[in-house]
């Protein structure tokens, strides 16, 4: 689905999301979202009683909201995304004060047919989980889901190989407004002092390079990504006599999105949101299988 309502998905943009892969959820019922919110709320309150409070000395009531994002999916086979939001209202403030969003997480599947095709009836496939907020809340919510739906969460790391796919794909995207630079960050191994090398390329140059490399619009092959990256490495070597291909690519940044090897992404452009989510769903599924 290419026409996702930009209003509804605006909250997804320009936030750093931490990625997880999630195995299928057993007996997850979309009709019971309000019940789940209540149960999760009670669980969090109980965890806080046990002393696992996030902020010491601050009285916070945590309100949990669980909702369905019906437009956030790829094909008809995909389950619609599920959004979990934690808001707090300080007990000290007045009744009219606004709730403050302290944590959000959402499950989604964009063209995740590879997984959902092969799964028995009672299972719901939402292999990609994205979180923004304190790690302590993430682990509480993760444990509740694991206990309730017998699923398993794992941090989704992104290899240099996958990062180079991302930068090649995203640098080639057509954008109307002036775009920010395409940046690649490398970490150099085996040195006494850690060294990071940042390589920034003018977005038009990057797009022009990709356009000469890509043979079929809409299709990308590993060979094309290799040629693109080799050109960038050769250019850098000509100027600085450093072989970037021997270093570890740890982060890529473009005007469309940025991604870090620890499994953290930021999506900057709503037009390409489905494309980015499709790629991340694929990575999540390959980590599960």
């Amino acid at each position: 689905q290419e026409n996702v309502d930009p209003q509804k998905t605006a909250f997804l943009l320009r936030k750093a999301w931490t990625l997880y892969s999630v195995t299928p959820l057993y007996r997850f019922h979309r009709a019971r979202l309000r019940d789940y919110a209540r149960l999760l709320s009670a669980f969090i309150a109980a965890e806080k009683q046990k002393g696992l409070a996030v902020e010491v000395g601050v009285e916070l009531d945590i309100k949990v909201a669980v909702s369905s994002l019906t437009d956030l999916r790829g094909s008809e086979q995909d389950q619609a995304a599920v959004l979990v939001q934690l808001s707090s209202r300080s007990r000290a403030s007045s009744r009219n004060s606004e709730d403050k969003l302290v944590w959000s997480g959402w499950f989604c599947s964009v063209y995740g047919d590879d997984l959902s095709e092969n799964v028995p009836e009672d299972f719901t496939c939402l292999p990609l989980f994205l979180t923004h907020g304190a790690e302590s809340y993430t682990s509480m919510i993760g444990s509740w889901f694991q206990k309730t739906f017998d699923c398993c969460f794992r941090r989704l790391a992104i290899s240099p190989l996958n990062l180079s796919w991302m930068v090649a794909m995203w640098a080639g995207c057509k954008l109307d407004r002036a775009a920010s630079a395409v940046e690649l960050v490398f970490s150099v191994p085996r040195l006494s002092q850690p060294l990071d090398i940042s390589y920034a390329i003018h977005p038009e140059d990057a797009k022009a390079l990709w356009d000469t490399v890509q043979k079929t619009p809409g299709e990308i092959t590993q060979e094309e990504v290799d040629v693109f990256m080799d050109c960038l490495y050769a250019h850098f070597h000509r100027h600085f006599k450093i072989h970037l291909s021997a270093a570890k690519l740890v982060k890529v940044s473009t005007a469309v999105a940025s991604a870090h090897c620890d499994g953290i992404v930021k999506i900057l452009h709503s037009q390409y949101l489905p494309g980015v989510l499709m790629l991340l769903t694929e990575l999540a599924i390959s980590q599960i299988q």
Binding site: L161, Q222, K248
Partner: protein, 131 residues
């Protein structure tokens, strides 16, 4: 004998003993190491590809750090009719086992094992590809 690339410096040619086995090491975390190996292969005499060359891919324990597609390395092995071994040098058990395998291969290539020659590796490779 260890070298970072081929060809070996010609000044020492007359001092060098016979070469029985060449092991090309490719670090899965370094695209550069693959490029280096590809460039060095051009300097190897064709007779070595009758069982006296093997590719050793290291660092396979860390799937999340890989910069090279394993498919690309397997294709390289097929193209040069040479076996591809995968190992993780950081784990002692695997390091020792891999060293023992290479030593065994070297013994065969040097003609120290009766009844088996380096050509056996080539025919083993061919059988696997025919499946």
């Amino acid at each position: 004998h260890l070298a970072t690339s081929l060809p070996l410096p010609s000044e020492r040619d007359h001092l060098r003993p016979r070469i029985d086995l060449i092991v090309f090491m490719i670090d899965i975390k370094s695209k550069y190491s693959l490029k280096n190996v590809e460039a060095s292969l051009a300097h190897v005499d064709a007779s070595f590809f009758l069982g006296k060359v093997c590719f050793l891919v290291t660092g396979v324990g860390r799937v999340n750090a890989c910069s090279i597609e394993t498919n690309a390395v397997c294709k390289l092995g097929e193209a040069y009719c040479s076996p591809v071994l995968f190992c993780e040098l950081e784990l002692e058990g695997i390091r020792v086992a891999t060293a023992q395998r290479l030593l065994r291969m070297l013994q065969i290539c040097a003609g120290h094992i009766r009844g088996v020659s380096a050509l056996s590796f080539v025919s083993l490779m061919r059988n696997a590809n025919d499946d």
